[in-house]
């Protein structure tokens, strides 16, 4: 495909257009993704998650500059929520990343969560693949870590960074399910606020070694850049640990398993939301409303005669 050739030649616009095709579920996206897939798998994918306002974008801005100084090309996919009522979104993560300006070695893309039928993670990581094939050495994925889908995205990265800040709840907050289990690296940002030392040592006390990796707690202040270097070093260390250790193959298989499953679910969802498949979806809805059948039985029946879209 022409767009893939352009992307491989370093055409920024082609990369941006391809991400839009993925987001819009354009029919050409599947073929393009198939073509770029052999060129992926080279970038270090880092997921950053944490509550809104904790400083994820500012931290990424610092990291982008740090990695540029280390002569690495950097991609960013920043995910913000779509309004469930209007379908619109205001994507503001670029505000905090403004000083990367027009550096040719940086590509930042804002994504809205939209109503992705096959799961948000699928579209997000397809966008990551575009940046990977485009030649980025490291790609950051930023999500608001408030719900299951965001945790899912973060955990799909090679390295997951959980960002916290001081004065945001006692040590029991950190015990809540998910937080302590998903991070490979923990960051206490906004150290300039005070109270960060307590937060960091509380976190550190509760973290345990998992499969040979003890998650470090890195203290940062994105405001003045404190701790950026240490965080970048921790990221590199974790990537090396994975790549050289016994976990790599298993993790890759996990990721492939999830993506395959999600792609199947996406195909199914597409089939159903697009009633041209002629499987009698709407008629079945009517039958359920009329109590002539129930959803579980009807689902089995519909899936039996299923024809997938081309």
């Amino acid at each position: 495909m022409k767009i893939v050739d352009q992307l491989r030649e370093g055409d920024k616009r082609a990369a941006a257009k391809l991400i839009s095709m993925i987001e819009d579920d354009d029919p050409g996206a599947t073929a393009a993704l198939a073509e770029i897939f052999p060129h992926t798998g080279k970038a270090h994918i880092v997921g950053l998650t944490g509550p809104p306002g904790v400083g994820k974008s500012s931290l990424i801005n610092r990291l982008v500059r740090e990695y540029r100084e280390r002569s690495k090309k950097v991609g960013v996919v920043a995910v913000d929520p779509t309004s469930p009522f209007t379908g619109g979104a205001v994507l503001g993560d670029r505000i905090r990343m403004a000083d990367t300006g027009s550096d040719p070695g940086v590509f930042i893309r804002s994504m809205a969560t939209r109503g992705h039928s096959g799961g948000l993670a699928l579209a997000t990581f397809d966008a990551v693949k575009v940046l990977d094939a485009y030649g980025m050495d490291i790609v950051f994925v930023e999500t608001v870590g408030a719900g299951q889908s965001e945790v899912d995205i973060a955990s799909r990265a090679h390295t997951t960074v959980v960002v916290q800040m001081p004065q945001s709840g006692d040590s029991v907050q950190a015990l809540k399910a998910g937080i302590l289990e998903i991070g490979d690296i923990y960051v206490v940002n906004k150290m300039d606020l005070g109270g960060g030392d307590t937060m960091a040592s509380n976190l550190d006390f509760m973290l345990e070694e998992r499969q040979g990796w003890r998650p470090p707690v890195v203290q940062t202040a994105a405001l003045d850049g404190r701790g950026t270097k240490e965080l970048a070093d921790a990221l590199t260390k974790h990537y090396r640990f994975l790549k050289r250790g016994p976990l790599w193959r298993g993790r890759e298989a996990d990721r492939a398993r999830k993506e395959l499953f999600e792609s199947m679910r996406h195909l199914l969802a597409e089939t159903f939301s697009d009633d041209t498949a002629g499987i009698g979806f709407e008629e079945t809805v009517g039958a359920i409303v009329a109590r002539k059948t129930d959803p579980r039985t009807a689902a089995r029946k519909l899936l039996k005669g299923l024809k997938l879209p081309r």
Binding site: K12, R13, A16, K17, I19, S20, E23, D24, D25, D26, T82, S83, T86, G87, G88, A89, V90, L91, G92, R94, I95, A98, G101, S102, F107, I108, R109, S110, A112, R114
Partner: protein
């Protein structure tokens, strides 16, 4: 899935008055569009770079500093240079009538002064994306 309309709202130049830009961003969001808001003090280069990376259909520039003649046509020029002239540019803010004509001549598709109904701006961007 129908193609989503994506709009970049940016403030070139040095004034810090972004209320207008935010009101417009919100109106476009409520009309179901995806608005990438890049914040204050952007150079024309930054704006064009962001527009390309974000693959937007159009750019809305807010200017209240009086520097519009220096900054706005530059955005159009840079878009042409980057072969992205299909991305339309509109402006809003305090812009004298005699400058409006000059800006339009320089390739700014629309200029929205104070008091423009939001519906009119939404409609402009909707048709710009077609």
């Amino acid at each position: 899935m129908p193609k989503k309309i994506r709009i970049l709202i940016a403030k070139p130049g040095l004034d810090g008055h972004d209320r207008g830009a935010k009101v417009v961003a919100r109106a476009l969001r409520d009309a179901g569009m995806e608005v990438i808001y890049t914040g204050l003090r952007q150079t024309p280069e930054d704006i064009v770079e962001a527009a390309i990376q974000e693959d937007v259909d159009a750019i809305g520039l807010s200017s209240l500093s009086g520097a519009h003649m220096a900054l706005l046509p530059e955005v159009v020029k840079l878009l042409r240079k980057r072969k992205a002239a299909d991305i339309l540019v509109a402006a809003g803010g305090i812009i004298p009538d005699e400058d409006v004509r000059k800006l339009k001549k320089a390739g700014i598709k629309a200029v929205f002064g104070p008091g423009t109904p939001l519906a009119e701006i939404v409609e402009f961007f909707r048709s710009a994306a077609q």
